[in-house]
């Protein structure tokens, strides 16, 4: 009886309940469709126009892309990204994995040590860049410190050396992100089945060998996620360059994100700036799509 009463009363209530989830999600759906995909499309359209300081919708085909590929600064920025990205990813992984493996050996004060390794990740790249710009200051920074400490011939002037300035960005970025890689791998190591390690030990394998041959290969997913995240950080790196070098000396330490900003917003080259943004998106997709593909495939295999 009561169920009848509920039924008749619940009908409009039920209808509302059925719509509520959609209503709640609607604003976000709108935002995602417009603010994410619509805007990407808009930028894509702009990259085919002759927009300068203001958007114009006179289409010039692929001219902006052609100009971009003729632009020496774009090539410097792209080459820097390859060098910076490669070194940043490689060194962060080596340092992160090494620290994680060492920390996994029942270390006293592990929590404290972990906290120290990871704190740079809480800082803004602007703060990191400011600090490292000072540390790498030729004449006053580490340059002077090591000479004061007795290493007479020590010189460290990479910050003003067009051929080496990219390494300064690498140093600062590794300092900031390697602790994060450590944390990811440490979490992964904690999930490794200890019986596998013990079995290998009984077989007489040495600890380094066990890690290299058994434990680390089982952490492949962590490895791929780490590469993915680091590559993503590298491609988006803008603040670090802004704080440390502003792209200089000249434009020798430019990265695509910096290039995009200065051509779009300072030099009034909206069309070419948009083209460079689209290429950055392409770079992200080029690493994201295979990653997601392999993720989905492993999930299906489970």
């Amino acid at each position: 009886m009561s169920s009848v009463a509920v039924f008749s009363k619940a009908s409009p209530f039920d209808a509302l309940q059925r719509w509520l989830p959609k209503l709640v999600l609607a604003p976000s759906m709108f935002i995602v469709l417009v603010g994410f995909y619509g805007y990407i499309l808009w930028t894509f359209v702009l990259s085919f126009t002759n927009s300068t300081f203001l958007p114009s919708y006179k289409f010039v085909g692929l001219a902006q892309y052609a100009r971009l590929f003729d632009n020496d600064r774009w090539w410097v920025a792209s080459k820097n990204l390859a060098v910076f990205g490669g070194m940043f990813i490689g060194i962060s992984l080596v340092v992160g994995v090494l620290l994680a493996v060492f920390l996994d050996q029942r270390i006293r004060r592990e929590g404290f040590i972990r906290t120290i390794y990871l704190y740079p990740m809480a800082l803004s790249m602007i703060v990191t860049g400011t600090a490292w710009k000072w540390l790498l200051n030729p004449g006053m920074g580490l340059d002077k410190l090591l000479r004061d400490w007795g290493w007479e011939g020590f010189r460290l002037d990479w910050l003003i050396d067009p051929d080496r300035v990219v390494y300064c960005l690498v140093i600062a970025a590794v300092w900031q992100a390697s602790g994060f890689i450590m944390a990811m791998f440490l979490a992964g190591l904690r999930g490794v089945d200890q019986s596998i390690i013990r079995a290998a030990q009984i077989d007489g394998a040495s600890m380094p060998k066990i890690y290299w041959k058994v434990v680390l290969p089982s952490l492949r997913p962590v490895f791929f996620s780490s590469v993915m995240i680091l590559a993503h950080i590298a491609i988006k790196s803008f603040d670090l360059v802004a704080a440390m070098t502003a792209g200089g000396p000249g434009y020798s330490s430019d990265l695509p994100a910096m290039f995009m900003y200065s051509f779009t917003f300072s030099r009034g080259q909206m069309g070419m700036g948009s083209a460079s943004a689209i290429l950055m998106l392409g770079a992200i997709l080029a690493i994201l799509v295979p990653y997601l593909y392999s993720e989905l495939r492993t999930k299906r295999n489970d």
Partner: protein
């Protein structure tokens, strides 16, 4: 007996491990120590000493000058960060709730579309976003920045809550629905009380992201509405006048302290956010 024989070599390798770990601790700490030392030195002291020399006289003049320069921008950052963090977390919680417990046709596809936002290079949306803010009359305002941070923070906040809620057993919600509890009642009475950890993760993640943001700050604000990161960058990279490294370092510390403090107090949640942000769909 075998363990006795093996002991010396083990302790030797343990010494090596500790040496590496402690060496790394020192290296990670150097920039922070240098920033602090430099910020408490006088300009003459900075000229004569080196990075790690103790200040001949500890002076807070760098901090005083830095604070006078950046305090307005520090306030801007608070005005931007606090509302943006709260709003994006609230929306993320509701989105995650719908996407895990009230799925409907197309909601999974929407989640897929949204996830891409975690990887979106913001360079591809900067121009349209700045046109839009201009049209809305929000160009160069802190409100505009709040808006932008909410929009582009949604991908992560939704992901956090959705992934947390999918692990909650369906039966719980189904039972409540049979009892006649509605959408918001279930959310408020059942879901929200068990969400504290993920709320913490999300708040801390968003706080760190938004406080540390530079790209949106430098593109969408100017002059009086700039956040602290932009002000710090302007201070450090102006070529006019004599460089005052003590002021630069004090300003950098001021910009970094809020997130550092959060990290020290709630590091557990910070790490969880980072690894969850490492996207597991």
């Amino acid at each position: 007996m075998t363990s006795l024989a093996a002991k010396p070599s083990i302790s030797l390798s343990r010494i090596a491990i500790y040496a590496v770990l402690i060496g790394a601790v020192l290296i990670y700490l150097v920039p922070l120590v240098v920033m602090l030392l430099t910020s408490f030195k006088s300009p003459e002291d900075i000229g004569t000493g080196n990075l790690l020399s103790w200040p001949t006289e500890i002076t807070a003049i760098g901090w005083v000058k830095a604070w006078a320069t950046v305090k307005g921008y520090f306030l801007n950052s608070i005005l931007i960060t606090v509302p943006a963090v709260l709003i994006s977390t609230a929306i993320g919680a509701l989105n995650g709730y719908v996407l895990s417990m009230w799925r409907f046709r197309g909601s999974q596809m929407f989640f897929g579309l949204l996830l891409f936002g975690c990887f979106l290079p913001f360079q591809t949306v900067l121009l349209p976003a700045s046109f839009t803010l201009g049209k809305m009359g929000l160009a160069s305002t802190t409100t505009g920045l709040v808006f932008v941070h909410v929009v582009y923070g949604l991908a992560f906040t939704t992901l956090f809550f959705r992934n947390y809620y999918v692990s909650i057993p369906d039966a719980l919600v189904k039972a409540a629905r049979l009892d006649g509890a509605g959408f918001f009642t279930i959310f408020r009475r059942i879901i929200l009380p068990m969400s504290t950890p993920i709320i913490m993760v999300c708040l801390i993640w968003q706080f760190t992201q938004i406080w540390n943001d530079f790209l949106f700050g430098v593109v969408f604000s100017s002059g009086d509405s700039q956040p602290i990161t932009v002000a710090l960058n302007n201070l450090v990279n102006t070529s006019t006048g004599v460089k005052e490294y003590n002021v630069d370092m004090a300003a950098a510390m001021i910009a970094g302290l809020p997130t550092l403090l959060v990290y020290v107090v709630a590091g557990k949640y910070f790490v969880r956010g980072l690894t969850a942000g490492a996207v597991k769909g």
